[in-house]
Homo-oligomer: 342 residues x 2
Amino acid sequence: MARETTIGEDKLIEHIRRRIPSAEGGLLRLGIGDDAAVLRPGPQIELVVTCDQSLEDVHFVAAVLPPEAIGYRALARATSDLAAMGARPQLFLLSLAIPAERMGRWLDRMLAGMARAARQFGLRLAGGDTAQSPPGNPKIGFDITVIGVVERGRAVYRSGARAGDAIFVSGRLGQAQLGLELVQRGLYRQRQWKRWLRPHYYPAICLELGQWLARRQLATAMMDISDGLSTDLHRLCRSGRVGARIFVSEIPCVAVPGELRERGMDALRLALHGGEDYGLLFTVRKSQIARIPRRYRGTALTRIGEIVGGRGVRLVNADGRSSPLAAQGWDHFAEVARRRVK
Amino acid sequence: MARETTIGEDKLIEHIRRRIPSAEGGLLRLGIGDDAAVLRPGPQIELVVTCDQSLEDVHFVAAVLPPEAIGYRALARATSDLAAMGARPQLFLLSLAIPAERMGRWLDRMLAGMARAARQFGLRLAGGDTAQSPPGNPKIGFDITVIGVVERGRAVYRSGARAGDAIFVSGRLGQAQLGLELVQRGLYRQRQWKRWLRPHYYPAICLELGQWLARRQLATAMMDISDGLSTDLHRLCRSGRVGARIFVSEIPCVAVPGELRERGMDALRLALHGGEDYGLLFTVRKSQIARIPRRYRGTALTRIGEIVGGRGVRLVNADGRSSPLAAQGWDHFAEVARRRVK
């Protein structure tokens, strides 16, 4: 934490430090309390570094989500990018902007959720920055930088897919989007939908799967599905200068209850374009496909299509006809802004 | 950059990438465009990592500061923490929240200022995260993570000061606070004060000095003065479990023009409690004092006092009498909030 001491800020940082694992050791030679953290990396490792914002009214609605969920998912979102590289999480830096009125019980509950995520992911807090949101604009903002390690040369990039590779996804797609839409439609208060909210509140990220695929060098390309399959598959293809075809019949869609289907929650739409499931999207050489199990530690691994030459993504229907699949997932800066809280 | 592609966001990230140095090489094995950056550190180095927020209406007034200054100082503020460790800047991650109406000319000017700082500090952009500020709350927010390197064991911590060490500061103190107060009092529009704004707009950070002190192992403790000498010296003392006395007559204060002195801008107050000069505060063993020059590359190095046993900071007046010096610099969370934009 760069700004430290004097009564107010000092107390806040001490408060955070006591609640979130932050002991020095291993990679972390010097932690919270100085101008910066000092890391001593081993000789055979590479560091993997990423950051992710979670802003009130952009990424979450503070009035709806429990503070524990806000803290948990802020850290999970950022750490998912390490899963997508096959890295083991080590440290994180927390930048927090918080209004005065959230400093008491709200802060404690948020930190409890974040601490749970940190323990679960094996992360220690190494530093950060705190600021008070101005009274005229009392919004909460997180920016979290996560640092992981991977054996030299074993990180899995987005760019490695080649024509002929099979395309896999982990888990069921569209679950988090279903939860988000329950929030947006005000249905989150109804007890019957409570369990459907969980994937939105506490996203499950795929650290062990990502590390396993990287260690065994099974994935030629990998990324996490954060903005929706349609958008993220386009990214993976562009990155590798390849195209893809995926099969409607193979996509592992969220199971939408009948009552919600009637309200327009279509499973295929949610699965193709809904973001924040944080499953992994990865490609596998044909010769290696047999080494991919149907499930990895309880999570389904589903082959949904294949990488092809050329460009673009096509969706193949049950009748064998295919059509281009547009990137219709989340985009902060889309020209026709699809405004929604995610 | 974690979120990439699709028309809008993709364009923004490509835009940023073209304007700010971001080529892979050296420490940076994989840069912008994947889930995370990959770093390959050498065997004899340590990494130094820090992050710093710059939020509209908290750290800067977007209606007053030129966009170039906002971009420059956001990066300078964060990088100053590396100077304070004696590290060489290498890479940074940029998290940016930006409203739609700032996406054109304002963005370009801001990036030009940030690119200038990046080139000056030797930093390459390795990744980040972008989000659009919601229309109802169109504020700009930066969070910047900076990564530097230092030879194993050579980073200078805050905690190393011992009784008997001499206390030094670099540069003149209170200059940035003077600029800030010209902004706050609406005097920034008057041409005659223009040059006094510069230390607030484009803070000069002390990278070379910090690296020189670290390399030669001349500083026992070091930090940058970001929140004001009174506040930061307390931090340095607390960190080393020591006390300090400093001499009013030795403090290198900003030269305040007579007209501004009459308006209550007191040089000693500005120097003791004004933040954001980003000079270095460091301590030196008695036996090493002769090795500290009066100036280092044009910047004055001034001995202002000494570390003592016990706790607390005392200010010694011209008549030899001393009194406790309270930490009255910037604190986001002070119980009596000293609200100001810094």
